[in-house]
């Protein structure tokens, strides 16, 4: 029963983030946040990591599978806390309201959906139509469609990033842009580090 209310909240907010993200983020930031709802988001994240680990390492070598899963989990957790820390710095620099970590965690967790969709989509398409693409008409068409979907999810992600800063820290557009300029090199270094460590080529943020 303890997890039923957050589950209903999660389902409601999950659909609302797709259909009506602006009002949903505003409502979540205003009406007090039941942080337990993010548990279900991370269930999906963990399911994805399991799926990706199976895809990359196979199931015949449990050591490799466990290693891959743990590295994905640790890398994404560190990425999540890095973002929360950056937002906290942003709050220290610009925000005039009180800092509520719970509100920030819930809003930023919902912004993981476009990331999760992209990784699931890419992984599934990797099985259905493995790369590399050819330069035939079918190869080109598929590549362009894949890029259109990827760009759509990226823009959706950027929108949720904006809404997180707008409603969790109550910032305006100019301050969000300035903070983004500040965050970008840090995120780039994190992405480079993850690439060098061989965890993932595109960071799970």
């Amino acid at each position: 029963m303890g997890l039923l209310k957050p589950f209903i909240l999660f389902l409601r907010n999950f659909l609302a983030v797709i259909l009506n993200p602006y009002n949903t983020y505003r409502r979540i930031s205003f009406s007090g946040t039941d942080i337990r709802q993010v548990f279900y988001i991370y269930v999906f994240v963990l399911l994805y990591f399991l799926f990706a680990s199976l895809l990359k390492a196979g199931y015949k070598n449990p050591f490799l599978l466990t290693f891959k899963f743990n590295s994905l989990f640790l890398a994404s957790t560190s990425g999540f806390f890095l973002m929360i820390f950056l937002f906290y710095l942003g709050h220290k620099i610009y925000s005039t309201v009180n800092f509520y970590p719970g509100r920030l965690v819930v809003l930023w967790s919902y912004s993981l959906f476009p990331t999760l969709f992209w990784f699931f989509y890419t992984s599934v398409m990797y099985i259905v139509l493995p790369p590399p693409r050819t330069f035939s008409i079918f190869g080109k068409t598929y590549s362009l469609l894949y890029l259109v979907v990827s760009t759509t999810l990226l823009l959706w992600k950027l929108m949720l990033y904006y809404l997180t800063l707008r409603f969790a820290l109550r910032l305006d557009l100019s301050r969000i842009i300035l903070l983004t300029l500040l965050f970008t090199p840090v995120i780039f270094v994190y992405a480079l580090l993850m690439y060098r460590l061989g965890v993932y080529k595109i960071p799970f943020i």
Partner: protein, 77 residues
Amino acid sequence: MKNDRFYRQLVLKMHEVSVVPPQTVGPFTPLYKLLVSRLKFFPVVAILPFSLFLIFIAYIFFGVLLVSLASVLQASF
């Protein structure tokens, strides 16, 4: 009046709506409002054609390089 349920809900909603002041961007405010109004409800409907347009422009400039980019991205999960 203060015990009226509808009144209390209305006040709460008004507080929620005014949780952040309206965003202005100087002379571009009307354009900003127009763009944002399309993104507030089911934004995918607005984002998808825009992405299509972006990729079309990118294809004109970069051509088959986009095919290589798709191959790299598809192996990047």
